[in-house]
Symmetry: C2
Subunit: 221 residues, 2 copies
């Protein structure tokens, strides 16, 4: 049934490169997100897989390359989500709100990605810069935003002077901060930004904020 050279055994054990690689990436994602790049321990990652530390070096080359691979996979997930976004049938206002909600939901569901990105920024984005895969893909969301903004301006709905990248930054800011700064904000101000009871409140706040900004009346320049 399966080739002898690269046996595919989804549920089995033993030699299966893809499976071993994926397992290492799963555990490494958790460990890097938990403790940061320098705080993470290769020994600890190996101990939590069915394989050994030697295999991490065999497959990835080293700790830096492992972190890069972790980042590549985490960024890939949000890009996939953006690609699945279907807003062509909505009016511009509803489409922007839908996009904001998608971004909001993805950040909430993937706190590991948020932590990894924080860690990568502490290190000057050097791993992203070194990754061919991450270098020139961009974000599918940007194309979507561009089309919505153009439609909204043509319809006379949007007045704001922003392009797609700036609007993406605005939306991401709120979504990112809520997850990334949860601990300091909660400790200092006594408010848990991730309290499930407040989820709809913040989700609505984000949409209201973005729409209000885009549609506000402005003094003629």
């Amino acid at each position: 049934m399966t080739s002898v050279e690269e046996p595919v055994r989804p549920g089995g054990r033993g030699r299966d490169a893809a499976r071993t690689r994926a397992e290492i990436l799963d555990v490494a994602t958790q460990e890097f997100a938990r403790a940061g790049f320098d705080g993470a321990r290769v020994d600890e990652i190996a101990a939590r897989t069915r394989t050994t530390k030697r295999m991490i070096y065999y497959y990835f080359g080293g700790k830096e390359q492992l972190f890069t691979a972790v980042l590549e996979r985490a960024y890939g997930a949000i890009r996939d989500a953006e690609r699945r976004l279907d807003v062509e049938h909505l009016d511009p206002v509803a489409a922007i709100r839908r996009l904001a909600e998608l971004t909001f939901d993805h950040h909430e569901r993937h706190p590991d990605l948020v932590r990894l990105v924080s860690i990568e920024n502490i290190h000057g984005a050097e791993h992203i810069a070194a990754s061919r895969k991450l270098g020139r893909i961009g974000a599918p969301a940007l194309d979507v935003i561009r089309r919505i903004l153009a439609a909204g301006r043509e319809a006379g709905l949007f007045t704001a002077d922003v392009d797609a990248i700036d609007l993406h930054a605005m939306i991401s800011s709120f979504c990112f901060f809520r997850v990334a700064n949860r601990h300091t904000f909660g400790t200092l101000f006594g408010r848990d930004l991730l309290d499930p009871a407040q989820r709809e409140h913040y989700r609505t706040m984000l949409g209201d904020m973005v729409i209000a900004y885009l549609t506000a009346e402005r003094a003629a320049g």
Copy 2:
């Protein structure tokens, strides 16, 4: 002129506890902000001061306590800035915009604080939680925001359903993200959020966003 026990020699050298402490804090702030908590080296911090590693342990007890002291001082600076804010003479709209600009400016001028806060969040805000000094001071800005929001609602200018803490989160999100995620955002999207030529653009964008949100017409609930 000065007591023999605790000599105060602002420009001199030698035994001066306050001065040595301050110098260690200066260098430690840079080193922690540069490399993260686990990436920072006590040896490196000591090497860049006029004192020795032994004195860091003598004054602060250890690496963790040193980081806590660094955080305490960095947070103290932004609180001082908030305390100096004088907006009582402004109308609510102008006052909120002024507050947003102050927050914007402080984040831009103190990227070290932003990095330290990112690092502290990776570590679950455990140092803030362990600090008595940071535990129960809160942010002076919150009182200011509360008063402005009340005045704005009374004047019929503000319609949004937010309290001071949520508005503070909204303003901080944008200011924090711009600095904290500068590297990943710049690398992925080719746009430097801290480009001096775009500074006024983003400063205006933040104010417009917050004011639009607060003053937007809303459907009656």
